[in-house]
Symmetry: C2
Subunit: 552 residues, 2 copies
């Protein structure tokens, strides 16, 4: 067993006196050991998810501090989550069984929005949906970024996991500035080194003295109970675009072009370049007759779906913002660089309205067939893609959407629900997300490592290439598997392991890890982990906070 | 005495056996206890600079590691510097007397330049001048950023001090990616959490697991011996501009406009908005007859100098880059926002040539007087400003220049030297650099705190407002004092102390600290320093590495 785990006793159940003490801190209603609650909290789309021992929901930093002190005394280990939507990486589940699940969703105050300086100060329970709705009412000149994942994901939680959004504020950790943190000792610390009431707490990211906020991302050094998040001033003009690559073999060239455009700041949004399976998972589901017998779409079925939905081998969307004149110029640049390689289409608020109107006619009116024919012929889009259009356009403005996360139901025999909740619905899915220098050569190498492994373990190869910054691209892959099928589950586990081994061996790191694989960090980077463990030991000598998280 | 200092014995001299051991590691020639060397290394523009006990210059990370281990054994304290050009903050001098000065200037290899991914990997001895010259020869499509400070400053050193440059890559710590660090234990660690040979070490800033690189900036947790630095792709088009504010009372409005332009990414360069004294210090020197008797320019002398050199109350320059069409649009936006408040002038490579030609005629030919008259009348510039033009234009492209640092000689009776070295030349100067949210109100408040203190202690009020990011502005002030005048030196010390107290009390932090004031951090932010000291204790239990640096 990993030495870091030995500080905390493994426990079957939390003792009654400990529960009573917790109830005294947060109130009766906010401590649960009800088996159905624990079962639910222990569900995740990954295999081998761990069930917590108790769920505690504090209302503020002082209660968080009291719970941490109490757990240190009782030698309990605590797993903090914001809203727990870490789907594909472990949801709300811990590395170890029996954790005190510290759920921060009650701490959902938007404490401040500073319009001239374009930032908000929020608690970890604040969601993308909530923040954007709030801004829409009170500060319509500010936009927030969002992932294309769950709208009820936590703004702070995602940023601390270093998640990626879609606009030019897509590097969520990069837009986090100024934190309040409860340390394992129960002390409450402000980052930034400023004096009491420091006025640049949420405007000057590095502060003075060592920059320590990075220690609270992808780690277990403290519980962030408040943070500043930079917001986008609403641009004067905005357009989105979609691009479909004509020839699959041009992918390396396309990646190089995206990098050049990103380095030149022509492309500033966190572009998601998706392959056929990824696009299909958003637009459609497995044909009903294939769900049971196939862990992987047969080649002819895939070809048929691609024809039906008019899905390219690779396609992507992006946002363009600035003054009207700037948007015009960027569109021109994109046209000159991208159009030779495929189909480029620009969308603005007016086009989106038109598309919705065409869709309504095609879906209901007597003119359905000819309209569908016209859409497919002249735009190269299927009706399903037309339907996706407004969602893509809006999410590129940072407006959260339930639309995309429903892709998780691709292999489910249940229809996609209005509000996706793959944990609830027993959906199997694991993200595996290596990151490569953004060059055609490197990205192709990672794809060439991963794709055959997906084939060997008989899974569809889902890939989305995400621009993390102008020099790096996340190769986000997803293993769709059926949790009710033990063989698929075994294969998913084995594939996940094989992907980690093969990419590490080739010199690629992951940008983020699932709870099931965090131990690998210690194998990959022993001196680094030895360093972070020494820091951890200094801040959390009992090893009580999220033991095993990111290897420390 | 601060408890953190008690780990290391205060020593008068380094023992002979210790010196012999150091010589065995780095070679006879690279260890010096020669009094003239120690005296020189102990000189700084700040008062009360501390003399080192020995100077050691290692050649590589292994030698750094050996020296750190040796010093830990011998209970010596080590003060690492890159090239030691930290002028105004302490130069190469330590917080404490008698340090082992670890000078990294021999480690000056440019290890790699990756042109497609636009980064370099350098050692701490690599200077701005060296890197830019190297790129000019080998990679003319890449630009490096630079400060407008010493060209022989270290690229890594400045970034670790979180210094600011001038282009849109001006946030130097923000462009640092992937470090090799020698820890106080002598271990050599790669940051980033990646596997051996990790391909995103220098492209993916956050790595995987906790982001720890921030711990090595403005701190004393390790010696960075190698780092990746992001470079700018040479833009297709570039223009610079200068702006002179017409009415001093419009400063708050101007600051708000700069913020809006920065948030909208119209202004992307790290603009330096300078006041009259700052501009004059670059263009001129004290009138000879005033140097001795006046610690502060009399009002009439200042007014006369402003008239002579045509210096505005506030002025700034900035760079515009992108495609030719993008540059045109940004120029138009700048014109529409700035022109109502003062005089805006754009400069490109052609204009710069013209200006130099006009200057040559005005300075030498028989047409000198009429040309000078025409320049002053039609451009609003003095000949000295015309002379400054090319330096401003070039530095805004990231080309290092000896021109601006000579401002330090403003109050010297010696003429400005070709190559400034204020330490050598016994120049007195202290930077005091609070940072404010970039709003007219906040910046005015800080100025209103600082300016009367400069007056009370009878010093010229030098201020440069630097755009650190789109939300924050550094209010860089400088105390010019005569080191040969004990009263001025006392007053400089007292002013520096008063500035720190008054700005902290008002809720403003500094963006960077001089070695003489780092202890203040512990007063201002006790929980923060208690946290960083616990980390420090874990990594450097003997407290041997740069004790007292940034409060830990």
């Amino acid at each position: 067993m990993d030495p870091i785990f030995t500080h905390v006793a493994a426990r079957e159940a939390v003792s009654e006196p400990a529960l009573a003490a917790m109830r005294a801190v947060v109130g009766e209603a906010h401590v649960s050991v009800a088996p159905e609650d624990l079962d639910r909290a222990g569900k995740a789309t990954i295999p081998d998810a761990k069930r917590p021992g108790v769920i505690v929901s504090p209302a503020n930093a002082q209660e968080v501090a009291a719970i941490l002190r109490l757990c240190a005394d009782q030698r309990l280990h605590v797993w903090p989550v914001s809203t727990g939507r870490n789907w594909g990486y472990g949801s709300a589940t811990a590395v170890r069984e029996g954790a005190v699940l510290l759920r921060l969703s009650r701490m959902d105050r938007i404490i401040e929005v500073n319009e001239p300086l374009a930032y908000a100060v929020v608690e970890p329970g604040v969601t993308y949906r909530q923040l954007r709705a709030y801004l829409g009412v009170h500060h319509p000149n500010l936009w927030s970024d969002s992932t294309d994942g769950p709208p009820d994901g936590s703004v702070i939680g995602n940023a601390l996991d270093r998640g990626l959004g879609v606009t030019h504020y897509g590097d969520h950790f990069g837009t986090l500035c100024g934190m309040e943190v409860v340390l394992p000792s129960g002390e409450i610390m402000r980052t930034g080194g400023g004096p009491e009431g420091c006025k640049t707490w949420h405007t000057h990211k590095w502060g003075v003295g060592p920059y320590v906020e990075g220690l609270f991302s992808q780690s277990n050094f403290g519980v962030v109970t408040k943070a500043g998040v930079w917001l986008l001033p609403k641009p004067e003009a905005f357009a989105s675009f979609t691009f479909d690559l004509a020839r699959e073999e041009d992918l390396p060239k396309l990646v190089d072009i995206i990098r050049e455009l990103a380095l030149r700041q022509i492309v500033t949004s966190a572009v998601h370049l998706v392959n056929d399976i990824c696009a299909l998972s958003v637009l459609a589901q497995y044909p009903a007759h294939l769900v049971a017998g196939h862990s992987r779409l047969p080649a002819d079925a895939l070809a048929e779906m691609r024809r039906k939905y008019l899905v390219a081998s690779w396609s992507f969307g992006g946002g363009v913002q600035g003054t009207a004149a700037q948007v015009r110029i960027v569109k021109k640049e994109l046209r000159s660089r991208l159009a030779p390689l495929g189909r480029l289409m620009f969308v603005d608020d007016a086009t989106v309205g038109l598309a919705s109107a065409a869709l309504a006619v095609a879906r209901s009116g007597p003119l359905g067939r000819p309209v569908e024919w016209a859409v497919r012929t002249f735009t190269g889009k299927s009706l399903e893609m037309l339907e996706a259009g407004p969602h893509i356009h809006n999410v590129l403005k940072g407006i959260p959407s339930d639309y995309f996360v429903r892709h998780a139901y691709f292999k489910s025999e249940k229809p996609k629900p209005e509000r996706a909740d793959p944990d609830r619905d027993d959906i199997g899915g694991i993200w595996f997300a290596p990151i490569a220098p953004m060059s055609g050569g490197h990205v192709s190498e990672v794809l060439a490592i991963c794709r055959p492994l997906f084939e060997r373990f008989e899974f569809d190869f889902y890939a989305a290439l995400l621009v993390q910054n102008a020099r790096s691209m996340i190769i986000l892959t997803s293993i769709f598997y059926r949790k009710d099928d033990p063989r698929q589950t075994d294969n998913a586990r084995a594939l996940y392991h094989a992907l980690g081994e093969a990419t590490s061996r080739a010199g690629y790191q992951t940008y983020r890890m699932g709870v099931g694989s965090m131990g690998r960090l210690a194998q990959n980077a022993p001196e680094f982990i030895s360093f972070t463990r020494r820091l951890k030991q200094a801040i959390d000598p009992a090893g009580m906070l999220a033991p095993g998280k990111y290897g420390a």
